[in-house]
């Protein structure tokens, strides 16, 4: 028998009366074993969509099914198939990390032995084993995030809904998380990943959907999206000192400038001499370049092309 679509969403709409924002007419499918990325800036409707799909709030209209189950009519059955990490991680601070995770594992119907075994493996995997008996209120933000991931994964869900899962994780933990997602996908779990970490989405996801002002504006594979951007380049300049860089936008062909840590990321058209012009522009701004790379475009550039707006707010 053919396995049901892991997540089927059709014309999901939910608009908040107070702001008029939300999501409108969103339709997509996620197959078993597929990692599906959801990209959009703050306010694009990602969180609303995840709240609907997690069954926390009901859509105004539309339907969605989880593993073939109508999640609006049979919420509890649908919830049993899902693993969730939404918004900021929340736990019972006066309970230990282990007690929190165990409570959730049992709430998802896991038997005692299986719960303990699955949790032991995940605590070990995410490097939380030595902190498992400490109260969660003593955990750092990153540790809380790892605990939330453990709680989402322990019961072996068919569908993982993850909102900014690796935000706040250190580099090693982020790699561990990505490895685990690949592992779960290979084992047949579907993953819906809402994130603004474009590198991560690009690296992990088989399909990507772009949300813009509550509407799904494009759906496809990361490769197809990126290869559609011919003639676009990213110049990443690592600076010795922070500078006021707004004048860089005056350089012919530069479409956008975004600071990322010590790097200045310049999005520009591919034309002869543009790298030299950008370098000169940074010099005029007073920037001292310590490293420079020219990269192919990424999903941020795709979003910019599709919507005319930036995926992140920190551009000039």
């Amino acid at each position: 028998m053919e396995k049901a679509v892991a997540l089927y969403a059709k014309k999901l709409t939910r608009l908040y009366e107070s702001s008029g924002r939300g999501v409108s007419d969103v339709s997509f499918e996620v197959q078993p074993g597929e990692a599906f990325g959801l990209l959009g800036p703050n306010g694009s409707g990602k969180s609303t969509l995840l709240r609907i799909l997690s069954t926390a709030i009901a859509p105004g209209s539309g339907i969605f099914r989880v593993g073939g189950i109508d999640a609006l009519k049979e919420k509890q059955k649908a919830r049993a198939k899902m693993g969730l990490m939404l918004d900021r991680p929340t736990h019972y601070g006066d309970l230990t990390g282990w007690a929190n995770a165990y409570l959730f594992a049992r709430s998802y119907g896991m038997e005692e032995g299986k719960a303990k075994s699955a949790l032991a493996g995940l605590f070990d995997y995410f490097g939380l084993a030595e902190y498992k008996d400490e109260k969660v209120k003593t955990y750092s933000y990153g540790m809380g995030k790892k605990l939330a991931l453990i709680e989402a994964m322990a019961h072996g869900p068919e569908l993982l809904l993850l909102d900014e899962p690796s935000l706040g994780l250190d580099y090693t933990s982020r790699l561990s998380f990505q490895r685990k997602i690949r592992e779960l996908s290979s084992a047949g779990a579907a993953v819906l990943l809402a994130s603004n970490q474009v590198d991560e989405v690009e690296a992990l996801c088989d399909q990507v959907a772009f949300l813009h002002r509550g509407k799904l504006v494009a759906l496809g594979t990361p490769e197809d999206f990126i290869s559609s951007l011919k003639g676009v380049r990213r110049i990443v300049a690592r600076l010795h000192n922070p500078v006021e860089y707004s004048a860089l936008k005056e350089v012919h062909g530069v479409t956008r400038v975004v600071p990322e840590g010590r790097d200045l990321v310049v999005h520009c058209a591919e034309r002869s001499g543009i790298v030299a012009d950008v370098v000169a522009g940074i010099g005029r701004c007073g920037g001292e370049i310590v490293n420079l790379t020219v990269e192919r475009p990424n999903l941020e550039d795709v979003y910019l092309k599709l919507t005319g707006e930036a995926l992140r707010d920190d551009e000039v």
Partner: protein
């Protein structure tokens, strides 16, 4: 404690938390003693001694459930729990029952001291104890009901006062001790009143109800309240947008 920690059910989580905060637990047990025992040991009129115990029970039940729930709602943890496959009605039921029982555990030492200071027939001691439990169930139901409409602990205080003041009046704790007509009819539907009657007997006043009434009527009323509160589960556990 190993039966409760790590918890494998929502109510066990509350038990584990209750016993894990040692200092808070000590305060929780001591404050009813500090409020009730001096009153019980004094020569204050029986009616007021009974009323003090009643007020302590009502406050502990209503504010305890309401405030801890709104705190969990604001924290987001309750919504996260609600997204597990557990039935929201069951979660609401567990919240109500475990809070009422834990409140009862807090009050029990103070009650035992009262019974030692004021020996009364066993049936009335049991009736008073059951009356306190019924009051705690009712008060917790009110607290949970209020948490359906607000996520602010301050609002819980306000709404609870607005709901409890007329109920306390109807129950005849301080005034309205001999109601007639509609007030007498209404009193029959408030479990606080039965507890108050039983406690008055413990403190030496003549019985105006039978122990049977104190056991049966509040039990029926509480069952209806609990049923009603369980129906609010989906709303109670939904995110406040």
């Amino acid at each position: 404690m190993t039966r409760f920690n790590p918890p494998d059910a929502y109510w066990k989580k509350d038990v584990a938390l209750f016993f894990s905060r040692r200092f808070a637990l000590l305060i929780k047990v001591l404050y009813p003693i500090a409020l009730i025992v001096p009153v019980a040991a004094s020569d204050i009129p029986a009616q007021y001694a009974a009323a003090v115990i009643g007020i302590v029970a009502i406050m502990a039940g209503t504010f305890g459930a309401g405030e801890s729930l709104t705190s969990d709602l604001n924290d987001g943890i309750l919504v996260r729990v609600a997204l597990t496959p557990l039935s929201p009605h069951r979660i609401a039921f567990e919240i109500m029952v475990v809070n009422a029982v834990l409140d009862f555990v807090q009050l029990l030492p103070a009650l035992l001291i009262v019974y030692i200071l004021h020996p009364a027939p066993l049936v009335w001691v049991l009736a008073a104890t059951f009356g306190v439990l019924a009051t705690l169930v009712t008060a917790n139901c009110i607290g949970i009901f209020i948490a359906n409409f607000t996520s602010s602990p301050a609002d819980v205080l306000l709404y609870a006062t607005a709901i409890l003041a007329p109920l306390i009046y109807v129950s005849g704790f301080f005034r309205n001790t001999d109601p007639t007509g509609l007030l007498a009819l209404l009193r029959g539907f408030v479990p606080f009143a039965y507890m108050n009657e039983a406690l008055k007997v413990v403190f030496g006043l003549a019985a105006r109800s039978t122990p049977f009434e104190v056991f049966v009527y509040p039990a029926i009323i509480c069952a209806l309240f609990v049923f009603g509160v369980c129906l609010t589960g989906p709303r109670l556990l939904s995110p406040r947008l």
